[in-house]
């Protein structure tokens, strides 16, 4: 039902592309991260909750059809519905049904609890196109709550230096604000501009989060010792950092599971926190989907596909895409 064209994954029955990487007439978007939602398409279909971030990133005037989770829409000969992927606010798996066959494109997803977005929904299907950003058994996540506690201890453990925590600006940062809120943190957390713009949409969606404020609103000379600041990885070692005197630095990402990855990036601490499924999460999801055929995209697609074939007797093969998932 889905074929790979130069523009991306194409569903002929619906005459639509899922997360196309070039402009097309009709795009079905799993979520608003840059490698999945690209500008220039004539028409976008996406989950209603993702509308704010999507418009902010692709332009306020895009032609967007918002759909609630679970609602079925007919596009041509195909029944299309969006189901929560548990990745970020408004993230979805896309279910496509035609000629009695069901395909699901997972987009990015995770199975762990995340207080900032709807939980993952299992969607039975015949063919499952899954991500595999962390498709290796070395990747296993702790619960977000435990990681948030470690982050709180790290931050509170140094009341003289500013604590700069780097994390992906859309999804990870808001998950951290929500996890810290759940731990009862009442302190105002400072945000880099790129984090602030996305956080606004989470606040509009009434996601409960710790109080926050853009760093830029503070007076130039305000002392920042003991404050927690969230910033995107691109700000690390940029001139933006000059404002913080002798900060302690950390990076929250699934990549931090490997020591070399942290040391190479030059962060003092690494907190292992990911918005993607870990190895057990991927295997569990694939088994629960009941799919007869699995295509694996992103990162470790070769490894996961081979493991599924050889050790789980599941018909699986890697599928080349331009999704990155690595900016996690």
């Amino acid at each position: 039902m889905i074929e790979r064209t130069a523009e991306g994954l194409y569903c002929r029955a619906a005459d639509a592309w899922v997360d196309p990487w070039r402009p097309v007439a009709r795009a079905l978007i799993t979520h608003a991260h840059a490698d999945h939602a690209r500008a220039g398409c004539d028409q976008y279909w996406a989950v209603d909750v993702s509308e704010g971030v999507l418009r902010q990133r692709l332009g306020q005037h895009i032609n967007l059809q918002p759909i609630p989770y679970g609602e079925e829409v007919w596009l041509g000969q195909c029944k299309v519905s969006f189901h929560s992927a548990g990745h970020v606010l408004g993230s979805a798996q896309i279910r496509l049904e035609a000629d009695g066959e069901v395909w699901v494109v997972s987009g990015d997803y995770k199975r762990d609890h995340d207080p900032s977005c709807a939980p993952f929904e299992t969607v039975p299907c015949d063919v499952f196109i899954t991500e595999a950003t962390f498709g290796m058994p070395i990747y296993r996540w702790q619960r977000g709550e435990e990681v948030a506690m470690a982050i709180r201890d790290w931050w509170k453990g140094d009341q003289t230096r500013p604590s700069l925590l780097f994390c992906y600006a859309f999804g990870k940062a808001q998950r951290l604000l929500a996890e810290l809120h759940a731990l009862g943190v009442k302190d105002e957390i400072l945000l880099h501009g790129a984090v602030e713009t996305v956080t606004r949409h989470y606040r509009m969606a009434k996601v409960p989060m710790a109080p926050s404020r853009p760093v830029s609103e503070l007076p130039r000379n305000e002392p920042l010792g003991g404050r927690l600041i969230l910033a995107p990885p691109s700000a690390h070692r940029s001139s933006w950092m000059k404002r913080f005197k002798a900060p302690q630095t950390a990076f929250a990402s699934g990549w931090m599971a490997v020591r070399g990855a942290r040391r190479r990036r030059g962060y003092e601490r690494g907190f292992v926190l990911s918005d993607h499924a870990d190895w057990p999460g991927l295997l569990r999801t694939i088994r629960e989907s009941g799919a007869k055929k699995v295509y694996v995209t992103h990162g470790q697609s070769d490894v996961l596909a081979r493991y599924l074939r050889e050790s789980e007797a599941i018909d699986a093969e890697p599928l080349e895409t331009l999704f990155e998932g690595e900016s996690d």
Partner: protein, 570 residues
């Protein structure tokens, strides 16, 4: 053990050297000497043997954890370290493994490090086959998952936490109020972990040690020549010397001892015993700065750096190596004479005293010591022409030193300049990429490049591997490109689309079986990413072969050139 785990965590997380030294100082002062001795040994990374290899640990995990071998290997490729890979895979498999009942010494959290290193781990290492596997599994089961990385490291050795020997010496010096150079000297002979040895290392300096202190002066370093800074000066105020392609060394004779320090302030006596022997014939209270280089007696030009490299890091040098890689010391400065620091004197005066000193030096191996020849130019106009003569001399280029310059420390611009030959360059196509290890694990940073061979149609053949030359941003950009343009994977290496062209600079070129092209180059590095060039426009093998032939002809010239190093007429 808990204290050592905590030290490791701190060292691993701190990025500044001052903070690292502080936590080392604190550790060495607070733990029992037997543990301090082991901490020192482990941090120095000089364990004599591995208790259990990383491969053996991977086998145990494979056999008992029901994970396919290829998957463990792929994970190892991603992580870049056996001990860490195993510690990350353990949580995946532990539930499948029945509790082991093995007669191990009881593991408790308060067991000290030396108990682990002297009792527990050796007892596991001596076990065979299945018994050993069960004991290792029992060890993993009895300890918290978070400690496994360290425990595995203690077994497999190869402990690297980003603290250099220098940093450790500094910490010991600080903790026990000693001269840092004294600690380095004491550690030079190797260190066997025992409480008594640790006490010896950290004891106050005895009288003899004070008299014959091997403390080196900080090296004075030259900067790459900035023509604007010399063009307005009188060329005759400057001394010109050849810049040799060896390693910088400071040779000290004080009391009864001779020391040879490298620029990294490592003692390299063991690698160059012949120089130590001749150095002892200098009057005590002498310090020379110069170049250590491989150079046969009676030959006009030195041997290549590859010969010197065979000696570096050696603890002992055998007769073969001594014969095949004969070594010399080319002195270019005198820092201390009759136990008096003369670094404030002008360079020409120091050099004159060096000449006088060398005239008195007597030793059967006297030929191993030479003074670097210095001369002046009539005008700056001749500078580049003079530099080009370096190729014939097998030198790297020229040194340009102010004739009245004092011997300062570190890199102070304005007094000493280096003027190196332009590197040879070729435009080559990226063919293979491999992830680095350790800090560079899972980032593609090792690249192999190819040139077009002389067949029709031409094929790309490999000729050089390079690691450095790109900035962080370019590395990341290239890493992404490599992931998207992989053709095939060979274990940790990948072949990529022949599309990107890089300008590769190198210092020498010679025949080699290592690469398909039949040539290998010295010091290859990336000079530029040639975004402007297509793969078809990269250089051909024949160009590289011509470079080699040109070099060949200059090499033959060298043998016929009459003037030697000490020649004053050139």
């Amino acid at each position: 053990m808990q204290a050592f785990l905590a030290l490791f965590d701190q060292l691993d997380q701190l990025t500044g050297t001052t903070a690292k030294v502080a936590s080392l100082v604190n550790h060495f002062k607070s733990v029992p000497v037997e543990d301090a001795a082991w901490a020192l040994t482990l941090l120095l990374g000089k364990r004599r043997r591995r208790l259990i290899t990383g491969r053996r640990l991977r086998e145990i995990l494979r056999d008992h954890g029901d994970l396919p071998e290829w998957l463990i290997n792929d994970c190892h490729g991603q992580v870049g370290d056996s001990a860490e890979t195993i510690s990350l895979l353990w949580p995946c498999v532990k539930e499948r493994i029945a509790p082991m009942h093995v007669d191990l010494p009881a593991i408790r959290a308060d067991r000290p490090l030396h108990w682990w290193m002297e009792i527990l781990l050796p007892s596991i290492a001596t076990l065979k086959e299945a018994n050993q596997a069960e004991a290792v599994l029992a060890l993993w089961q009895a300890t918290p998952d978070n400690d496994h990385f360290m425990i595995n490291k203690l077994m497999t050795g190869g402990f690297r936490v980003g603290v250099s020997t220098g940093l450790i010496s500094r910490a010991i010096a600080e903790a026990f109020e000693l001269e840092e150079s004294l600690v380095v000297q004491r550690l030079m002979g190797g260190f066997e972990p025992s409480g008594a040895n640790f006490r010896n290392i950290t004891a106050p300096a005895c009288e003899e040690e004070q008299r014959s202190s091997g403390k080196p002066y900080p090296f004075f370093l030259a900067s790459p020549l900035d023509r604007k800074r010399i063009d307005d000066t009188d060329a005759e105020e400057w001394l010109i010397e050849w810049k040799w392609d060896g390693i910088r060394g400071q040779l000290i004779h004080r009391g009864d001892s001779v020391y040879l320090w490298s620029r990294g302030e490592e003692l390299i006596n063991n690698s160059f015993p012949e120089l130590i022997a001749v150095g002892a014939a200098l009057p005590p209270g002498t310090v020379l700065d110069g170049e250590v280089i491989c150079w046969e007696n009676g030959q006009e030009a030195p041997m290549g750096f590859d010969q010197l490299q065979r000696r570096l890091g050696r603890k002992t040098v055998g007769a073969t190596l001594k014969r095949e890689c004969p070594v010399r010391f080319i002195a270019y400065d005198l820092l201390e004479l009759e136990a008096i620091d003369i670094r404030e004197q002008p360079l020409h005066a120091r050099q004159q005293q060096l000449t006088d000193l060398m005239a008195l030096l007597e030793h059967p191996d006297r030929w191993r010591f030479d003074q670097s020849h210095a001369w002046t130019l009539g005008s700056w106009h001749d500078l580049d022409q003079e530099r080009n003569r370096a190729r014939d001399r097998k030198a790297e280029g020229l040194m340009v030193k102010r004739s009245d310059s004092p011997y300062l420390s570190g890199r102070k611009r304005g007094h000493w300049w280096k003027h190196k030959l332009e590197p040879m360059t070729l435009d080559a196509v990226l063919l293979y990429a491999q992830a680095g290890s350790g800090r560079r694990a899972n980032l593609f940073t090792d690249y192999t490049f190819g040139l077009w061979d002389n067949n029709t149609p031409p094929q790309l053949v490999t000729f050089a591997k390079a690691y450095s030359g790109l900035n962080d941003k370019e590395i990341l950009e290239l890493d992404r490109w490599i992931r998207r343009n992989t053709l095939q994977r060979y274990g940790p290496a990948r072949s990529v689309k022949a599309e990107l062209v890089f300008e590769i600079g190198f210092e020498g070129i010679h025949p080699s079986k290592r690469h398909k092209s039949g040539l290998a180059v010295r010091f290859p590095r990336i000079l530029r990413w040639r975004h402007d060039k297509l793969a078809e426009q990269a250089d051909r093998l024949i160009t590289a072969q011509q470079l080699f032939e040109e070099k060949q002809s200059t090499d033959t010239n060298v043998k016929t050139v009459r003037s030697a190093v000490g020649d004053k007429s050139s």
